[in-house]
C-alpha cells in the first residue's frame, strides 16, 4: 500500500474519492426526488448533512489521510473522529430512516418498522448498549493488541472500521432523536448516558496518553490522544446542543407556563 505514496500525494486519489462519495450521495438524492413527488418537500439542509456525512466518511477511508492512518497514530485519531463521530452525527441529522420510510411503498415500510421495533433492535438501540458498543469497543481496540493486529490484516481493518462507524451511528441516534425512533427514553436518562460515555472517551484519551497502544511511539500517542480528547469535546458539544434543544422545544408544550 505504501509504494503508491507519490501517486496519492499528487492528488491521484481524487477520482476514486469522488466516485465513492458520489456512490454514497446519489441514492439519497434519488430517494429525495422520488419521495418529494408524493409528499411535502424535505428540508434542503438534510441533503447537505448527508453529503458532508458521506464526504467525511470517505475522507476517513480513501486518500492521503486514510493512507497515513496506517502508520501514524495522530492520523488514525483524525480518522476515528471523522468516521466514528462526525460522519455518524451528520448522517443522523439527515434523517435517513424518515427518508427510507417515505420512499418505500406502505407495505414494505411497515415491514421495515416491524424490524426496527423488534427485540434485537430494541436491545442494540438502547442508549446503554449503544454506548457500550461505541466506547467499550474503543477500549478493546486500543488497550489490547487488537490495534496492532488491525494493521496486519486488511480484513480486520475493514471490520473494525465498519464497527467504528456503525457503533458511532447507533450511539448518536440512541441519544439524540433526530430521526424515527421507536423506543424512547427520557431526556434525563439519555443525558446521564451521554455524560458517562463522554467521560469514558476522555478517560480513554488520557489513558492512551500515559500508556500508548502497542507499537505506537510516545510523541504520536500524546498528540493523538489530545486530538481524541478535544475533538471528542467538540463533536459531543453538538450532540449535547441538539439533545438540550429538543428538551427546550418539548418542555414548552409539556408544562403550563404559569399556574395561579
Amino acid at each position: 500500500m505504501h509504494d503508491n505514496h507519490a501517486l496519492m500525494d499528487s492528488g491521484g486519489f481524487l477520482p476514486l474519492f469522488l466516485l465513492i462519495a458520489l456512490l454514497g450521495i446519489s441514492p439519497y438524492l434519488a430517494a429525495v426526488y422520488f419521495s418529494n413527488q408524493k409528499y411535502r418537500n424535505l428540508p434542503l439542509q438534510r441533503i447537505v448533512f448527508w453529503s458532508f456525512g458521506i464526504i467525511s466518511a470517505t475522507a476517513a477511508l480513501v486518500g492521503p489521510l486514510a493512507e497515513q492512518a496506517h502508520v501514524d497514530f495522530r492520523m488514525h485519531m483524525a480518522v476515528h473522529l471523522l468516521l466514528g463521530m462526525l460522519a455518524p452525527l451528520l448522517i443522523a441529522m439527515s434523517c435517513p430512516m424518515t427518508l427510507l420510510l417515505r420512499t418505500l411503498n406502505t407495505s414494505v415500510a411497515r415491514r421495515v418498522t416491524a424490524v426496527l421495533k423488534s427485540p434485537p433492535f430494541r436491545l442494540i438501540s438502547h442508549p446503554v448498549t449503544a454506548a457500550l458498543l461505541n466506547i467499550g469497543g474503543l477500549y478493546v481496540l486500543y488497550l489490547t493488541s487488537l490495534y496492532h493486529l488491525m494493521h496486519e490484516s486488511a480484513f480486520l481493518y475493514a471490520v473494525i472500521h465498519l464497527h467504528i462507524f456503525l457503533a458511532g451511528y447507533l450511539f448518536t441516534v440512541s441519544i439524540v432523536y433526530f430521526d424515527v425512533t421507536p423506543h424512547r427514553f427520557s431526556f434525563l436518562y439519555r443525558s446521564i448516558v451521554l455524560i458517562v460515555a463522554l467521560a469514558g472517551h476522555k478517560i480513554l484519551a488520557k489513558t492512551l496518553y500515559a500508556t500508548p497502544p502497542e507499537g505506537v511511539p510516545r510523541t504520536e500517542a500524546e498528540a493523538g490522544s489530545m486530538l481524541m480528547y478535544y475533538g471528542g469535546d467538540l463533536i459531543d458539544a453538538v450532540l449535547i446542543f441538539y439533545l438540550c434543544w429538543h428538551w427546550y422545544k418539548s418542555t414548552a408544550k409539556r408544562e403550563p407556563s404559569f399556574i395561579k
Binding site: 443525558s191 451521554l194 455524560i195 458517562v196 463522554l198 467521560a199 469514558g200 472517551h201 476522555k202 478517560i203 488520557k206 489513558t207 496518553y209 500515559a210 500524546e222 489530545m226 480528547y229 469535546d233 459531543d236 458539544a237 449535547i240 446542543f241 438540550c244 434543544w245 428538551w247 427546550y248 418542555t251 414548552a252 403550563p256 407556563s257 404559569f258 399556574i259 395561579k260
Partner: protein, 170 residues
C-alpha cells in the same frame, strides 16, 4: 408560545420568578460549574500552559474523576443556557438568584478541583517548577470567596421571596 407578561407586583417581581425559583437556582449553579471548568481549560491549560494534560503522578482515580467531572461540566454549560432561555420564555428569570447560584457553582467546582483533584488525586498541579503553596492558597481561598458571595446573594433572595409570599397573601 405561552409567555406570561402580567402579574407585576409592588415588590420588584414582574413575572413567574418565585414559581420557577428552583429552576433559576439550578440553571445558575450549572452555568457556574460549566463556566469555571471552561475557564480552567482556556486559561490554565491552553493560554498560560501551567496545567498539564497529564503528569506522571496522576492516579487512575484522578483520570476517572477528572473525566467525569469535565464531561458533566461540558454538559452543564450548554444545558444551563437552554434552561436560561426557558426561564426567559416563561418570564421567570430571576437574575439575582441565578447569579448567586452561579457563584456557588463556580466556587464549589474550583474548591473541589483545588483540593481533591490537585492535592488528593495528584491530577496535575497548578504550576510546575515553582513553590506551589502560594498558588494553592490563592486558588482555594478565591474558591471559598466565590462560595461566600454565592451564599450571601442567595440568602438575600430568600428574604425577597418571603416578602413576596407575604404580600401575595395580604
Amino acid at each position: 408560545m405561552a409567555v406570561n407578561r402580567t402579574n407585576s407586583t409592588s415588590n420588584g417581581f414582574a413575572g413567574n420568578q418565585v414559581l420557577y425559583s428552583s429552576r433559576n437556582f439550578w440553571s445558575g449553579l450549572l452555568f457556574g460549574i460549566g463556566l469555571i471548568a471552561f475557564m480552567d481549560e482556556v486559561f490554565f491549560h491552553q493560554l498560560l500552559q501551567w496545567h498539564h494534560f497529564y503528569d506522571l503522578a496522576t492516579t487512575r482515580t484522578g483520570i476517572l474523576s477528572d473525566g467525569l467531572l469535565n464531561s458533566f461540566a461540558w454538559f452543564a454549560a450548554i444545558f444551563s443556557l437552554f434552561m436560561l432561555s426557558d426561564l426567559r420564555r416563561r418570564n421567570a428569570l430571576w437574575p439575582v438568584k441565578w447569579t448567586g447560584a452561579a457563584f456557588l457553582g463556580a466556587g464549589s467546582f474550583q474548591l473541589f478541583d483545588g483540593l481533591i483533584h490537585h492535592k488528593v488525586l495528584n491530577l496535575h498541579q497548578i504550576r510546575y517548577g515553582v513553590d506551589i503553596l502560594p498558588y494553592d492558597l490563592v486558588w482555594s481561598i478565591s474558591a471559598a470567596i466565590f462560595i461566600a458571595i454565592g451564599l450571601f446573594i442567595l440568602s438575600q433572595t430568600r428574604i425577597a421571596k418571603r416578602k413576596k409570599a407575604g404580600n401575595s397573601h395580604a
